[in-house]
Amino acid sequence: MRLKPGSFAWLVAHDLRQSWRAFASLFGDMARVRIALVIGAAILALHLVAWPVALWIGAMEDGPAGSAALSAYTASGAIFVLPWIIAQSMTATTRALYGRGDLDLLFASPISARVVLGARALVMAIDAIASVATLLLPLANVNALAGHPHWLAIYPALLASGLFGSGLGLGLALALFLLVGPKRTRLVSQVAATLVGASFVLGVQGFNLLPAPTRAWVLRAFAAPESASAATALDLLWLPVRAASGEPGAILAWLLLGVIVFAAATLAFGERFAAAAILSAGAPVAGGRERKARAFRASLGATLRAKERRLVWRDPWLMSQMLLQIVYTLPVGVILWRNGGVTGSVGLAFTPTIVVISAQLAGSLAWVALSGEDAPEFLATAPVTRGQIERRKIEAIALPIALLLGAPILAVTIASPWSGLCATLFSLGAGASAALINLWRQSPSRKSMVLRRHSQSKLVGLIEHLLSILWAVAACTAILRSWTVLIPVALIAFTLWLNRPRSQSARKFSPSTAA
């Protein structure tokens, strides 16, 4: 069936095609059939992984507490999913506004701004739903197969959550645009989206720090909402949880609310979005204010370090992505700490986290500086060797990592000097090895691809993860003063040796690949 050109459905189809192609590009030149096979295999694998979880949930549900035993988990799921979708929508709206893309073309066409925004927002919602669906739907399917069909309620609940979250995210991003203006929205929205997206993780950290009676009250409220007065007063907040639990009335209400919020946001903000898009075109960027003139730097190293620092610091998207990496790594430390560690040692709990963060940050920053270079051809015309430039770039990324990890390492050192020494040495090693891998195996791309960089080179991703785990294990065994530290260290050395550059010609500058 041919869709009517210019219609809402036609625009949705166009945006979906663009979205699919962006996703398919992650698979490189792979043929469509093979992509479909890979996705099919991944879905099957996710269902297999979900099977034991479903059995565990089923056993709980069939227990004496019945479905009430699951309330806390369902509530946690909803609290995780909703902010995730809202954050995705805020980010997508901001990127649509500032990334421009085809907005000029669309707004120059005789199609109403509401239709344009409605189509785009719907595809944003579909993207956000898809990103969560890959994790949740296998669980729902397997549970339904295991004799609990009410789990299929996750389908409509997720659809409603996608519409609700996308509408809210869109509204929040545009409200920010009105509040702080086009100049600062890009930065503020990105930071806000990061915080919203990470709110679940941050919330869990906050929860762990609460006094024991308060934690008990929250857990009671989660387990049985009607027993806690605060929860019943805010019954609406439990709507997504009840919907996901399979209550027919709640499913309908949540769906209705999702559609209303989504429709209201797109209808109300259509013209605003168009106006914001026009205002954001060529808007001066925050930080572009008049600054005091200062003398030019004297050395090549200083200029290159300043350039790398500025490019990362001034890119809110990049900053937020790296911040997210850190936020998502923090719970490991808290979990290790709360579970007492094998020896109850603070050093043992936090050192592996510090080591892993060091590896992740060094990997990301090294990739940004080396593979994400904006003007590789320009650098190739400069009268300096590639080695000189790469050395300075590595120096440039070392400073922010040292600054960021300095405080936690100091804290560990105060608690346990030996652990502090181990944290220093092993985070140095982890950072250096992650940077080396990115130096030896460069994959030129846009800076914004930083978190997707491993989709370009899955091998580099695997090596980076392997090395960071090995360094963390090595740090723990070193803290325990065990000779077994030699095993992970030997494995690290062997992995690095395997990945060393084989010949200079292999790393020769190739503008065609760098462009």
Binding site: G282, A283, P284, V285, G287, G288, R289, E290, R291, A293, A295, F296, R297, A298, S299, L300, A302, T303, L304, A306, K307, R310, L311, R314, D315, D374, A375, E377, F378, L379, A380, T381, A382, P383, V384, T385, P511
Partner: protein
């Protein structure tokens, strides 16, 4: 006044039997000499090999065979020494969106090892001359194409190259900016720099260039002053456009 070409005063650029092939030959045994202090316009139809040639001189593409000498320096053997005195300005400006023009010029000067105080003075002069002074602390991401082109040109000039190669430098510039750039380039040549420029705007070549070279299918098919080209073309009153179309065999298609 032209310098005589001796071992002490070598030509700015000498290409000998230069070859580069991709799927098919892009540069096919090109011989070309550009004198020191000359404004040289390199013309040719699309795909003639102009940009490929200049990218090889800039050290961005390895040649399959042949020799490239810049002021007597063998580019293929002493790439760094050659790059020290060469600037390359492609048609797409090579900029960093998150840097402002002053920071960009500081970065370029740092790469080329220009003494900081001198670099700062040159940067200020260039920003003034190119009408970028008021925008010197704004990030390049908000600039128009023409402004970006001017920032890139300032970057190419801030290290005072002896040989400046420009690929379509007037693309995206308005009439006033184009005039400004043409004047700036002419001034650089008067002060002793050598400029090689590719352009499809033949009027620019006609007005600015001391000599014009026309390449087609990777080979030089004609070279000389406009008067010499007219004599070679047997058309004493012809415009450069007529001569170009005639020499490249495109006149029939253009008609």
């Amino acid at each position: 006044m032209r310098c005589s070409e001796t071992a002490a005063n070598p030509p700015a650029l000498v290409l000998s039997a230069l070859r580069k092939s991709f799927a098919k030959p892009a540069v096919d045994g090109l011989d070309l000499t550009v004198r020191a202090g000359e404004f040289y316009a390199l013309l040719g139809p699309n795909g003639a090999g102009k940009t490929t040639t200049l990218r090889m001189v800039a050290g961005l593409l390895p040649a399959d065979s042949g020799d490239i000498h810049v002021f007597g320096i063998d580019v293929r053997r002493q790439a760094i020494a050659a790059k020290r005195i060469v600037a390359w300005l492609p048609d797409e400006p090579m900029l960093y969106d998150k840097l402002d023009p002053l920071e960009y010029l500081e970065f370029v000067a740092g790469l080329w090892g220009v003494e900081p105080k001198r670099a700062q003075r040159l940067a200020d002069e260039l920003l003034e001359t190119l009408g970028l002074w008021a925008h010197r602390r704004e990030r390049c991401e908000g600039f128009s194409r023409g402004m970006k082109q001017k920032v890139a040109l300032a970057g190419a000039l801030v290290h005072e190259p002896r040989l400046l190669m420009l690929d379509e430098p007037l693309t995206g510039l308005d009439a006033a900016a184009a005039r400004l750039v043409k004047d700036l380039l002419a001034e650089r040549v008067r002060r002793g720099a050598t400029i090689i420029l590719t352009t499809h705007i033949l009027e620019v070549a006609e007005r600015l260039a001391d000599r014009i070279g026309i390449i087609q299918r990777g080979r030089l098919i004609a070279q000389g002053t406009l008067a010499e080209l007219r004599v070679a073309g047997g058309a004493h009153e012809a415009s450069l456009e007529d001569l170009f179309l005639n020499l490249t065999g495109q006149d029939a298609r253009a008609a």
